[in-house]
């Protein structure tokens, strides 16, 4: 009797295990994304920058990408960008 109820409980547990599954139903239509420069609900905006202005966002991106260029961060050491002639 105990064995039977144990098996029954195990089967029940297995049957309800699927209840924890997240729904994966396909959406009906693709949503349209907001522009990156439009205002964000995010709390951690880059210092000194506010969303909503496309030109300001592009300027921000430009200054940010230059942070990856050590030649622009260490003034006076930037080499000439003009291509050198191969010997």
């Amino acid at each position: 009797m105990i064995h039977r109820s144990t098996v029954g409980l195990a089967l029940l547990a297995l049957a309800v295990a699927g209840c924890g599954e997240k729904a994966q139903t396909a959406g009906t239509a693709k949503k349209f994304d907001a522009k990156a420069w439009e205002s964000s609900q995010a709390t951690y905006l880059a210092a000194g920058w506010k969303g909503g202005d496309k030109a300001a966002w592009e300027a921000q991106m430009h200054s940010r990408v230059q942070g990856q260029n050590e030649y622009s961060r260490t003034a006076g050491t930037a080499p000439s960008i003009a291509p050198t002639k191969t010997p």
Partner: protein, 201 residues
């Protein structure tokens, strides 16, 4: 603004996997999913080279072309994103992508293949910028915060560059010139090999 692009400088990458860690931490990427990984060629051989690889946000993205439910879209900045509410997790994009960018988490109790996940160039998804829903599905939207992808910004050796394609190409070109390799590292000769002289038979 030109298209957003990544460039990885193989001369500088030291295979530290900092970019991988930064990405996983920034977006709470689940176990078993790597939006970015470091690939090493000739591992263990002197002169081995490593590069950091993720979604390359292709101009003519094959994942977009093969998706049966058309869940992909491209932003104004050229970032290839997808809508997880439309994705059916079929995996076609995974077969089409030459970089192995699309990843599939195991979802739920029975370990089914979940919806596709990939590098978003830290640009989130179609939900409202910086919203909790966007964060849960796609991770953080750093572009909307006025920042660049975490992997590139946290790269210790600045091997991985990310941002406006024209600007990162200029930064990389400056480096190459500084190394003294000159203009031979650019152009058709480098990409496709030097032209061979036709031999007379």
């Amino acid at each position: 603004m030109a298209r957003m692009k990544f460039i990885c400088d193989a001369e500088r990458c030291i295979e530290c996997n900092g970019c991988v860690t930064a990405c996983k931490a920034e977006h709470d990427v689940p176990w078993g999913v790597n939006r970015r990984r470091v690939v090493t060629l000739n591992d263990g051989v002197p002169g081995e080279k490593s590069i950091s690889v993720a979604c390359m946000h292709c101009s003519d993205a094959p994942c977009m072309a093969v998706c049966p439910v058309d869940c992909f879209y491209r932003t104004d900045e050229g970032v290839v994103l997808h809508d997880k509410d439309v994705c059916i997790g079929c995996g076609y994009c995974s077969y089409a992508c030459p970089f192995g960018a699309p990843q599939f988490p195991t979802n739920g109790t029975f370990g089914l293949r979940g919806k596709m996940d990939k590098c978003t160039f830290c640009a989130g998804g179609p939900e409202a910028n910086g919203s909790a829903a966007e964060n849960e599905k796609y991770g953080r939207n750093r572009l909307a915060e006025g920042k660049l992808p975490a992997c590139a910004e946290m790269c210790a050796t600045k091997a991985l560059l990310g941002g406006d394609g024209d600007v990162v190409a200029d930064i990389f070109r400056t480096r190459v010139l500084q190394r003294g390799k000159g203009s031979e590292v650019w152009g058709w000769g480098t990409a496709y090999g030097k032209p061979t002289q036709a031999t007379k038979s």
